[in-house]
């Protein structure tokens, strides 16, 4: 930790990493509560993995058609694929009640498979794919930070506009429908916001660990507050601590920062469960 603070003055990558972590906390703090309340953690995982297809496509197109797609970045491909995945999952969620989990699971793997295949056919070694999968907070660039800030702005704007509809959907779908909410469109809107959040989070912890950041901080906060507004604030706060403190603690050691973040999130959640249990027991005595 002390080492981290000593080095931050001369090492720009430590600054970008910190800023990226804080931007990620905004996205996951705001969207995490909806994800756990609406019980779409699994759907979010599917969206994240379908994004790999987009990354593979970006690689492939850039290598094969450098003139047309030279400016295409992997994050663009990932974002487009995640949004497309959100729309597809939204349609399935609404139209196909039967075996929903099977279909989502299939999309999860198919997206991944397409991505791997496209990467395989692309010449060169896909470092970017690895950093997308496992996260690479050390190599976050200012460009990435700017994009994350933009995505954060879109996410916040969407929540400000849609919050009442999202909450009504979480509470009681049928009643929301009777209040004139278009279930299909609202669902897809929520999933698209989740897709953008996934993209922001993967910059910090990587795709494989994104589920932890999307669910654990919000679930931890939900132990202690019982309304949506405070829950969003609390889980943003918890995310901010989780994306910075473990990273600082792991600095200079052999521990990977991404894994430290996720393990800290799980540990905090566990502590919160124990605290809630203890409080409940004391309340009964």
């Amino acid at each position: 930790m002390i080492q981290f603070l000593r080095d931050i003055g001369d090492s720009e990558f430590l600054v970008t990493g910190l800023v990226a972590g804080l931007l990620a906390s905004v996205a996951c703090g705001v969207i995490g509560p909806y994800v756990i309340t609406r019980r779409i953690v699994f759907l979010s995982g599917a969206i994240a993995h379908m994004a790999v297809g987009g990354i593979g496509a970006a690689f492939f197109l850039r290598a094969m058609f450098p003139r047309v797609f030279g400016a295409l970045q992997t994050i663009h491909g990932a974002t487009l694929a995640a949004l497309g995945g959100a729309v597809v999952i939204g349609l399935i969620h609404q139209r196909v009640a039967e075996r929903m989990d099977t279909l989502i699971g299939a999309l999860w793997s198919v997206g991944m498979a397409v991505g791997i295949l496209l990467v395989k056919f692309t010449p060169g070694y896909p470092t970017e794919l690895m950093s997308y999968l496992f996260g690479n907070i050390v190599f976050v660039s200012w460009d990435d930070v700017r994009l994350m800030a933009l995505l954060d702005a879109v996410i916040l704007g969407a929540v400000l506009v849609f919050h009442k509809r999202f909450l009504a959907l979480c509470l009681d779908e049928e009643q929301a429908q009777l209040q004139g909410v278009d279930l299909l469109r609202t669902n897809i809107a929520l999933l698209c916001v989740v897709a953008l959040t996934v993209i922001v989070l993967t910059q910090v912890v990587g795709l494989i660990l994104v589920i932890a950041l999307l669910s654990l901080p919000a679930a931890t906060a939900a132990h202690h507050v019982s309304r949506m507004g405070p829950l969003i604030l609390a889980s943003t706060g918890i995310c901010a601590v989780l994306t910075t403190a473990p990273r600082m603690a792991a600095y200079g050691t052999a521990v990977t920062p991404e894994a430290a973040i996720v393990l800290a999130a799980a540990g905090l959640y566990l502590l919160s469960v124990l605290a809630t249990r203890l409080r409940g027991r004391r309340g009964k005595d």
């Binding site: 509560p33 309340t37 929540v159 400000l160 506009v161 849609f162 919050h163 009442k164 509809r165 909450l167 009504a168 979480c170 509470l171 009681d172 779908e173 049928e174 009643q175 929301a176 429908q177 009777l178 209040q179 004139g180 909410v181 939900a222 507050v225 019982s226 309304r227 949506m228 507004g229 829950l231």
Partner: protein
């Protein structure tokens, strides 16, 4: 004589759940609900009660027949209908207070944005006052009892400034005191809007309501006082005690014309699984062997098992008459 236009007009609808070709859940059902009606719908499990409500709400579309609510297709006016579902689908784990839940009843009238305006909060609080739940507005749903949750759902329906109120089993899990205050509340509300209650609770319906529709795939309307053992027995295929009351309950003059038939019809849906409500005897009895007098005087007599149950369900055309079932307009 100028008639007020009906709030709900259902004309000969047929409805079956998929797959196509399945048995009708509702068959040739017609019903008219006027601006001051207070209608109870009773019937056995699977008789189509909730389905009928969901059709009025436009959540289901009948395969045949026409439904008009407030003069329009149900879908277009569903935000003007207050609906209290049978099972609260509210997940108690959702981070929302009672007030938040009631506020969703204002959603159709509110703008986009994070918060509900002050006017909406006031309307929601007023609705909570009416169901005696205002003191618990800050609590979460998880901390409430079943009866309290029911009252929150009713408040949510009231908060929407509904022009028609539909309640599915509102007295399930509600204690007698609350049942009474709920009834008083509904009667007060009925001064300004029509109400439809679906219920299993035959005694509740027959004690408090003017008009009762018996629904078991087909629908027949009665004045509540005509709900006799035989009517119930026919419908549930098992005798059930009915709390009778003597005061006159005038039928509203815009009754359920097409729905009412002067002749009783035995309702043919399979009633395996039907059960007597109030813990009454389950021995079957052929309805035609009881006349009205014996019903009134010996209504609670347990019935002998040997009164051939095979007669049951064959009473079509036996002329079980409902005193005032025949309304102008029926043949």
């Amino acid at each position: 004589m100028s008639e007020p236009s009906p709030v709900v007009q259902i004309d000969r609808i047929f409805f079956a759940y998929p797959p196509p070709g399945a048995e009708w859940v509702l068959e040739d059902v017609s019903l008219t609900i006027g601006p001051r009606d207070f209608l109870g719908v009773i019937g056995p499990n699977g008789g189509g009660k909730t389905t009928l409500l969901r059709i009025i709400l436009g959540l289901l579309e009948p395969q045949r027949g026409v439904v008009r609510v407030l003069g329009r297709a149900p879908r277009e006016v569903r935000t003007r209908i207050g609906y209290v579902p049978q099972h609260a689908r509210i997940d108690p784990g959702v981070p929302a207070s009672v007030l938040d839940v009631v506020l969703t009843g204002r959603l159709a009238r509110s703008s986009w944005g994070f918060r509900y305006g002050r006017g909406h909060v006031e309307a929601a609080m007023a609705a909570l006052e009416q169901t005696e739940m205002a003191a618990l507005a800050g609590r979460t749903m998880a901390t409430l009892s079943g009866g309290q949750r029911q009252r929150v759902l009713i408040a949510r329906a009231l908060a929407s400034d509904a022009e028609l109120l539909l309640l599915d089993e509102p007295t399930a899990g509600v204690d007698p005191h609350m049942e009474q205050s709920l009834t008083d509340l509904l009667h007060r509300l009925n001064q300004r809007l029509p109400i439809v209650i679906v219920s299993h609770d035959v005694s509740f319906v027959s004690t408090h309501l003017q008009r009762v529709a018996c629904l078991n795939r087909r629908l027949i309307c009665h004045a509540a006082q005509e709900i006799s053992r035989e009517v119930i027995a026919e419908m549930y295929h098992a005798p059930i005690r009915v709390v009778r009351h003597e005061e006159a309950c005038p039928l509203s003059d815009h009754g359920c014309r097409q729905g009412c038939s002067p002749e009783g019809t035995v309702l043919g849906a399979g009633a395996s699984g039907s059960r007597a409500r109030l813990g009454e005897t389950l021995e079957r009895q052929p309805p035609k062997q009881l006349d009205r007098k014996s019903l009134l005087s010996e209504g609670d007599r347990p019935l002998a098992r040997d009164e051939s149950p095979s007669d049951l369900g064959t009473a079509e055309g036996d002329g079980v008459r409902f005193g005032r079932g025949g309304q102008p307009g029926t043949p």
